[in-house]
């Protein structure tokens, strides 16, 4: 495989320019121009607008402009009861909705000093990982399509259905389950679900193997993503980058393993994947490995599922005692957390939503400085954001 490095490409571009200059025998003067990408652009997953000031083919300055989908969830949550808030926050990261509910419920449970029974924690964790798979499979196809490969995205949409069907079978909703409750879950698993899910996990593993060859083994993909958009670990951390984005920079940190929330990750055997390079290729690679790892987590959780109730004893009308609590989990996009301030009422006094994409995208003005125009697309795709998760 002959992968072309970034330095080499820059050199090639330089040589080509030199040759052209010599032919024309004129000085090439570049004129600054402003390029507007979006708000409606396939590379923006919604309505992220990017204004880039260019010098020739290079970006001098790029600035994301958001807010086209700001829905004010923090304000809306102040006039809704705790069970009503989960309906709202389902819509933050709409590809992995169940994962949005979990940290909010965990924060509320902290304040109420309630802990979900073991069976509920295990099913919660399994559904959490299914959300992750549903979310990341789409990324795996989507980044490839943005680099010009059309097939992977169709395969991703096809195989994601296996997981969505399983989520639907339990919760009744493909995208917005609203299934997590303070103190447990709404329902137990339906009959035959465990076997069906294991078959689905088998298919997802096949999907991952296929993508490992089809996308990661593709020369064009490698040439366009290796060495592009390198994030040094300390810069990433100071911008608040989390999740696979920071693990692709070699930071071995995963809230599933390192967090202290009441989930069943410490009961199963799994591995945190990191990659030392910190470029777009590494981010794709880490996510692909994580998807495969997630299928193993789900398999083990379903094998060892404890029996027992799925709801702790909580009052019918939920009043959360006064106090403050922060709970965060490792969501498909990175760290998602909720800071709840309660005054002992039916409604939260203040909810601060820490969404992963907002922080992940805040590095783009720094990261896009000096890159070439086609690399903007690679970098944005590899940072992977969901607009609802930025705008909230």
């Amino acid at each position: 495989m002959t992968a072309v490095g970034a330095d080499q490409r820059q050199q090639m571009a330089y040589v080509a320019t030199q040759a052209a200059d010599a032919r024309l025998n004129v000085e090439v003067e570049t004129e600054g121009m402003t390029l507007n990408i979006g708000p409606q652009h396939p590379a923006t997953h919604g309505t992220l607008r990017l204004v880039a000031r260019l010098d020739g083919e290079q970006v001098v300055e790029a600035e994301p402009i958001m807010g086209y989908m700001h829905r004010g969830y923090e304000k809306l949550a102040e006039v809704r009861t705790y069970p009503q808030v989960t309906t709202l926050i389902n819509r933050i990261d709409w590809l992995g909705s169940f994962a949005n509910e979990v940290p909010f419920i965990l924060a509320a449970e902290k304040l109420m000093e309630v802990e979900a029974p073991p069976r509920a924690q295990w099913i919660r964790t399994a559904l959490f990982e299914l959300s992750r798979i549903a979310n990341i499979t789409l990324f795996l196809g989507d980044m490839a399509v943005q680099l010009g490969a059309l097939t992977p995205v169709f395969m991703a949409f096809r195989d994601r259905e296996f997981v969505l069907n399983q989520i639907e079978a339990v919760t009744g909703g493909r995208f917005h389950p609203n299934f997590d409750r303070i103190g447990g879950l709404k329902d137990d698993l339906p009959q035959g679900w465990i076997n069906d899910t294991k078959q689905a996990m088998e298919k997802i593993r096949d999907f991952c193997d296929e993508f490992e060859e089809l996308v990661l083994g593709n020369e064009i993909f490698e040439a366009r993503s290796r060495g592009i958009g390198i994030v040094p670990p300390e810069v990433g951390l100071s911008y608040g980058l989390s999740g696979a984005n920071i693990r692709a920079s070699g930071v071995d940190w995963d809230l599933r393993r390192d967090g202290h929330e009441a989930l069943a990750y410490d009961q199963v055997d799994w591995k945190v994947w990191t990659h030392p390079d910190g470029d777009s290729f590494a981010r794709y690679w880490v996510r692909l490995q994580e998807t495969r790892e997630a299928t193993h987590i789900v398999d083990q959780l379903l094998d060892g599922l404890p029996s027992g109730p799925i709801m702790a004893k909580v009052p019918r009308i939920i009043k959360v005692p006064a106090g403050e609590a922060y709970a965060a989990t490792e969501n498909p996009l990175g760290e998602m957390g909720y800071y709840i301030v309660s005054k002992g009422d039916l409604v939260p006094f203040r909810v601060k939503i820490r969404s992963a994409s907002f922080s992940n995208i805040s590095i783009t003005p720094w990261l896009l400085k000096g890159v070439y125009v086609p690399d903007i697309i690679t970098i944005l795709a590899s940072l992977y954001f969901i607009l609802g998760d930025i705008d909230r």
């Binding site: 958001m66 807010g67 700001h70 004010g72 923090e74 304000k75 809306l76 102040e78 006039v79 902290k110 802990e115 073991p118 924690q121 300390e234 810069v235 951390l237 100071s238 911008y239 608040g240 989390s242 930071v251 940190w253 390192d258 967090g259 202290h260 929330e261 009441a262 989930l263 069943a264 410490d266 009961q267 404890p306 006064a322 106090g323 403050e324 609590a325 922060y326 965060a328 760290e335 957390g337 800071y339 301030v341 005054k343 039916l346 203040r350 601060k352 820490r354 907002f358 922080s359 805040s362 590095i363 720094w366 705008d391």
Partner: protein, 219 residues
């Protein structure tokens, strides 16, 4: 801490006690580093650490957290408006709340506070796997505080958000512009006295929303 089986109970309580010791140590080190700028702290055992500092030592506190506690990860920054909602409970359906509750007195949360607006920043150490929530009071007549961009580059957008949502000015922030709301938007939506117009125009239906079965008597 997760406690799923009785066998690992000892191990988890040990880890919990260790974490609490570390929280105490963090609070002590911040107190050392800040001197008079340090106000108080609050620890929930096995839970979390809150530290309150004065407004003037806001950036010093963040620098100390980064350099001395190893909190490299910038989690988030925001503010809290402690004013009890002047609209009381009239946004709830009256059937749910027959007697509207009188407004509560203003009461600040963990690690206390004296003023209506309080800054909150959460920093996290990826080696200790522990976070700290730092707060600072803002005086009523001067809602401004120093920016944290020099300490954590990621503070930029979070501060822009806090600026437009709460109207807090960040000194020497290079680019304080609207981030979510349109440029001509007036007001600070997350302030408690900013009315949620949708609710004012059409009250929340609450239990009135329940459709009656045929033949059923109304409430």
């Amino acid at each position: 801490m997760t406690q799923l089986s009785s066998t690992d109970t000892d191990a988890t309580t040990d880890a919990g006690a260790q974490a609490d010791e570390l929280r105490e140590a963090w609070a002590a080190r911040l107190a050392d580093a800040l001197g008079d700028g340090y106000v108080e702290h609050h620890i929930i055992p096995g839970g979390d650490l809150w530290v309150r500092v004065t407004r003037d030592s806001w950036t010093d506190a963040a620098t100390a957290a980064r350099d001395q506690l190893g909190c490299q990860f910038f989690d988030w920054l925001s503010a809290i408006d402690w004013l009890p909602s002047p609209y009381g409970r009239d946004m709830d359906a009256q059937e749910d709340n027959p007697q509207p509750k009188a407004a509560d007195p203003m009461e600040q949360g963990h690690a206390g506070g004296q003023t209506r607006f309080q800054m909150v920043v959460r920093l996290y150490s990826i080696t200790e796997h522990m976070g700290v929530t730092i707060k600072a009071d803002l005086p009523k007549d001067d809602l401004s505080i120093d920016t944290l961009i020099q300490v954590y580059a990621g503070a930029d957008w979070h501060e822009r958000e806090a600026w437009e949502m709460f109207g807090i000015h960040f000194n020497s922030h290079p680019d304080l512009r609207h981030i979510y709301l349109p440029g001509e938007f007036e007001g600070n939506p997350l302030r408690k006295d900013f009315p949620l117009l949708a609710r004012r125009v059409k009250p929340w239906p609450g239990i009135v929303d329940v459709e009656l079965f045929p033949g059923e008597e109304g409430p």
